[in-house]
Symmetry: C2
Subunit: 207 residues, 2 copies
């Protein structure tokens, strides 16, 4: 069985990577979503195993010691990470796995698993990003400026990815994402066995 694709999607906050990923999963039910682990408290609307796997700090540190994460980070005193076993088992079984993670995490995954497909979601323009952020209605002028400045910094990281998708219309963005996956499956580097098999195939000619 051929190995599945590790699909890593990131982008600046407000670019809409969550929407694009949800729409992809709705269309392609065979893609498995990786659920992150965290030590922070579950929010009221969150469900264990759906939004996150909730670990105690002891559990999380023990998993770190056992090399149990593809990547992890500590943010404001809590841990966040991508459990390794789920991802590698699914890939080995030939399933595609989707990681929707932040840029720092994605770049760590790229070091550990360069064979993944690294996709950066861009907003159409900064102006549009600003509109999307302000439509949520909770930003002060100061925090908005800070977020836009951070977004510009983050977008520079796109050069470390392989693909970018401009999320103007979600359905078009999902079509591009699907095209990327289809094209990746056609890469020569992912089809060595198939090509070598022609040499192995016995052929004989009947008169």
């Amino acid at each position: 069985m051929s190995k599945g694709l590790l699909i890593v999607v990131s982008g600046p906050s407000g670019a809409g990577k969550g929407t694009v990923c949800s729409a992809l999963l709705a269309k392609q039910a065979d893609i498995q979503l990786s659920i992150s682990a965290t030590t922070r408290e579950p929010r009221k609307i969150e469900k264990p195993g759906v939004n996150y796997h909730y670990f105690t700090k002891e559990e999380f540190r023990s998993q770190i010691d056992q090399d149990g994460f593809l990547e992890y980070a500590e943010v404001y005193g809590n841990y966040y990470g991508t459990p390794k076993k789920f991802v590698l088992d699914a890939l080995k079984a030939g399933n595609d796995v989707l990681l929707e993670i932040d840029i720092q995490g994605a770049l760590k995954v790229k070091e550990a698993y360069p064979d993944g497909v690294f996709i950066f979601i861009l907003p159409p323009t900064l102006e549009e990003l600003q509109k999307r952020i302000t439509s949520r209605g909770t930003e002060t002028e100061e925090s908005l400026k800070k977020r836009l400045g951070a977004a510009v910094e983050e977008i520079e990281q796109a050069f470390k990815y392989e693909y970018c998708i401009v999320n103007d219309q979600v359905d078009e963005a999902v079509e591009e994402l699907e095209a990327i996956l289809k094209a990746e499956r056609c890469l020569i580097k992912r089809n060595h066995e198939k090509i070598h098999n022609f040499r192995e195939e016995e052929f004989y000619v009947e008169a």
Copy 2:
């Protein structure tokens, strides 16, 4: 305007690259087909500028001297080549250009223009290739053996390409080809300007 894609499609005789390319052009009328030049005599059903551009040997050699070909070769005393100006002008104008050429020609184009998209069309199996060849009904046992042997050798060249497409069902093969083109347009290396523009875009926050 962004540069167009140079799409280079090859594969062993009988894999059906001509059928796949025709079906792509029928679906995407904006892709421009490069017409090869040759010094061989036109066949009765062929039309100048459709099947080939027909050159005298003097004209062809003069074009070689003026660096007028992306690639050319001499086969059984006749020249065949890909006129350079048509291809480069179309790409510069932002149009995609399709080259359906043999493997030797494709690999020469790759040296001259590594930014192209190099796609190898495979038959599903050698057995199927044999069926396709024999259905044309003109092969002796000896020539069939020779052609299958040559196909096996040619398929090894696929490792020098970037993508392969198994032409089992033509419509699926064309979908894969279209996905490859869509994905290529999302490559970071083809979108440097778009990403840099975010840094240039002025943003200001209204209270």
